[in-house]
C-alpha cells in the first residue's frame, strides 16, 4: 500500500469508502495543533494487513502525537481517521509507569488484557521468551524485559493491528535487532499490520515495508532503501546516516547511556 498523495483534495467523507477490505487503518489529511503550534500537518497514510509501516523523525516531530491520533486517543483538529469495523488493536505505549504502591506481577499485568485464555498467555510468554519473568514484579525487571512484556500484553488481544511507540526503547543494540526481527515474524505469522515508531532506520530496514519520515509533515516516504537516498531524509538526519551504516550517528536532541538506553531531553 502507499500513502495517498497528500496534496489531493478529495473530501473527508471519501476516507471511509475508498479502502480495499485489507486496509486496517487510514488517516486522511490530519492536522493537529498544540498551543497554537502546528504539530501535525496534512498527514495521510494507510496500513494494510500484514504491512509494517515505520515512522521515523527527530524528537518533537509529532510521531507520538500521530500515533495517538491513529489510535483514537486524541482527536485531530481536522482530517479523518478510518478504522476497519471492529478492528482489534494491540497498543504498546512509549512508557509505562507503575506506582510503587501498586504490587503487580508480570503475570497479573498480562491478565489485565485477557483473563480467559490461559493457553494464549502461556504461548505468548514462550514465543517472547519471557516465561521466567511471570512471577516477578513489573517494577523489578529490566528495560528490555519490560518492552517484551508490553509487546506480550498487546499480542494477548489477538490484534489485527499492532501500534508500537518506540518498541526498542531501553533495549541494547543486539536486543533491538532481535526485537525488530520478532515483530516482523509476528506480523508474518498472524498477518497483522504494524505501525511503529523507531529511532533507527537501519535497524528496522530489513523488517519494514514502508518508512514514513516525519517532521510535522511527511518529508518523504516509501520503501526503506528509497527513503535513505531521499534528499529530505538526508537533510533531516545528515548524510552520515545514509553513508555509514556501521557507525550511524543521530542528530537528535538526546543521548544514549551505557547499554543503549535513551536519555531523552524533551519529548513530544
Amino acid at each position: 500500500m502507499s500513502i495517498p498523495d497528500s496534496s489531493d483534495n478529495t473530501t473527508l467523507d471519501s476516507v471511509t469508502d475508498v479502502h480495499a477490505p485489507d486496509v486496517l487503518l487510514a488517516a486522511k489529511s490530519i492536522n493537529k495543533d498544540f498551543a497554537e503550534k502546528r504539530i501535525l500537518e496534512n498527514i495521510s497514510l494507510t496500513i494494510a494487513e500484514g504491512q509494517i509501516v515505520t515512522l521515523i523523525g527527530p524528537n518533537g516531530a509529532g510521531k507520538t502525537t500521530l500515533v495517538r491520533v491513529a489510535l483514537g486517543l486524541l482527536q485531530p483538529d481536522s482530517g479523518a481517521i478510518y478504522h476497519r469495523p471492529k478492528l482489534r488493536i494491540g497498543y504498546m505505549p512509549q512508557r509505562v509507569h507503575v506506582e510503587p504502591t501498586l504490587p503487580l506481577t508480570v503475570n497479573r499485568f498480562l491478565q489485565l488484557a485477557n483473563r480467559q485464555d490461559k493457553a494464549l498467555l502461556s504461548n505468548t510468554l514462550k514465543d517472547l521468551k519471557i516465561r521466567h519473568l511471570e512471577g516477578q514484579q513489573l517494577t523489578a525487571i529490566s528495560g528490555g524485559e519490560l518492552q517484551r512484556v508490553l509487546l506480550a500484553r498487546a499480542l494477548l488481544r489477538k490484534p489485527e493491528l499492532l501500534i508500537l511507540d518506540e518498541p526498542a526503547q531501553g533495549v541494547d543494540l543486539a536486543g533491538q535487532a532481535e526485537l525488530y526481527q520478532l515483530i516482523s515474524e509476528i506480523s508474518d505469522k498472524h498477518r497483522c499490520g504494524v505501525l511503529m515508531i523507531s529511532h533507527d532506520l537501519h535497524l528496522v530496514m530489513s523488517s519494514t515495508d514502508e518508512v514514513i519520515c516525519l517532521n510535522h509533515h511527511i518529508c518523504c516516504h516509501g520503501k526503506p532503501e528509497h527513503v535513505t537516498n531521499d534528499p529530505a531524509y538526508l537533510n533531516l538526519f545528515g548524510a552520515n546516516a545514509s553513508r555509514n551504516l556501521a557507525i550511524y550517528t543521530h542528530h537528535h536532541d538526546h543521548e544514549h547511556g551505557i547499554g543503549g538506553s535513551v536519555k531523552e531531553h524533551n519529548h513530544d
Binding site: 506506582e99 504502591t101 506481577t105 489485565l112 512471577g135
Partner: protein, 274 residues
C-alpha cells in the same frame, strides 16, 4: 475479665458498632487501595470535609441526615471530577481550598442554625457507639452496593489504574469507570462518617492498604489484606475504646496506624521461611 468480655460482645450497641465497623472495613480495603494507587487521598479528605456541609444543609432543610450526607458527597464528587478537567490551577491547591472552605462553611452553618443543637464532635470524630437500626441498614446497603460494583468492574478498575490508555485501547470505558469509582468512594465516605468522623475517614481508607503493601505481590492480595487489617483495627479499636473509655473513631485509627508502623519497619514480620 471473661465475664466483662462476654458483656462487651453481647451488648446491643457494641454489636451494632462491630457489624457496621467490620463491613465498612471490608469494603474500605479494596476501595482504599485504589485511593493509594491513584494518589487520591487528598481527594477523599475533601469529600469528607464537604460532607459536613451536607449535614448542615440537611439540618436546615429538615431532611433525612444520612440521605443529605450521601447526596452532598455525590454532588461534591461529581463537581470535583469536573474541576479536575480544567487544569488552570493545580489539583492539590484546588482540593486544599475546597476541603477547608467547605469544612469551615459547614461549621458556620451549623453554628448559625441555633434552632437545632448538633453534636459537632460526633460528626468530626465519629460516634460509632450511638449508631442505631437505621444507620446500620444504611451502612449495610451501601457496603453491599459498593462491593457488587467493585467486584463486577474489578479487572477494569485495576487496568485503568495501571495504564489508562492501554485500557482504553482494550475497550474499557475509562472516563465512565473513573466517575463510577469516585462515586463509590463518595458513598463509602458518606456512610463512614458515623464511624470515624469527617476528620478521620481518609485514614480508615488509606492506612490499612498502606500497611498491607509490603505483604502483597498482586493488587488482589493488597486489597484483601487491607480488609483484614481494617477489621482487626475496628475490633481492637472498639475493645480499647470500651476499656479505656476513650472515643472509638480515634482508637480505630490509632490501632491501624500501629499496625502500619509494624509492617513499615518490619516488612517481613509475618513471612515464614519456605
Amino acid at each position: 475479665m471473661i465475664d466483662s468480655m462476654m458483656l462487651f460482645f453481647t451488648t446491643n450497641f457494641v454489636l451494632y458498632a462491630l457489624v457496621a465497623g467490620i463491613s465498612l472495613a471490608l469494603v474500605a480495603g479494596p476501595l482504599g487501595s485504589f485511593i493509594v494507587w491513584r494518589r487520591m487521598s487528598y481527594f477523599g479528605d475533601t469529600l469528607a470535609h464537604s460532607a459536613l456541609l451536607g449535614i448542615a444543609l440537611g439540618l436546615l432543610t429538615d431532611s433525612n441526615p444520612q440521605l443529605s450526607i450521601i447526596l452532598s458527597c455525590l454532588v461534591f464528587a461529581f463537581l470535583l471530577t469536573l474541576l479536575d478537567r480544567r487544569p488552570s490551577i493545580s489539583t492539590d491547591t484546588l482540593l486544599g481550598i475546597l476541603a477547608h472552605s467547605s469544612l469551615a462553611l459547614g461549621i458556620l452553618v451549623l453554628a448559625l442554625a441555633d434552632s437545632v443543637r448538633v453534636d459537632l464532635e460526633a460528626y468530626l470524630f465519629g460516634a460509632l457507639l450511638t449508631i442505631g437500626n437505621a444507620d446500620l441498614i444504611w451502612v449495610l446497603v451501601i457496603v453491599s452496593l459498593v462491593s457488587i460494583v467493585l467486584s463486577v468492574f474489578w479487572n477494569d478498575f485495576v487496568s485503568i489504574t495501571v495504564h489508562a490508555e492501554i485500557a482504553e485501547i482494550e475497550g474499557v470505558t475509562v472516563n465512565r469507570l473513573n466517575l463510577v469509582l469516585v462515586l463509590l468512594i463518595a458513598l463509602t465516605i458518606a456512610v463512614s462518617m458515623k464511624i470515624v468522623g469527617v476528620l478521620l475517614i481518609t485514614s480508615l481508607l488509606i492506612i490499612p492498604p498502606a500497611a498491607a503493601r509490603s505483604m502483597a505481590s498482586t493488587p488482589e492480595q493488597m486489597a484483601g489484606r487491607a480488609s483484614i487489617i481494617g477489621c482487626i483495627s475496628v475490633v481492637l479499636g472498639l475493645i480499647s475504646a470500651f476499656y479505656f473509655d476513650v472515643p472509638v473513631g480515634p482508637s480505630i485509627v490509632v490501632v491501624a496506624t500501629l499496625i502500619f508502623l509494624v509492617f513499615y519497619f518490619y516488612p517481613n514480620v509475618l513471612k515464614t521461611r519456605n
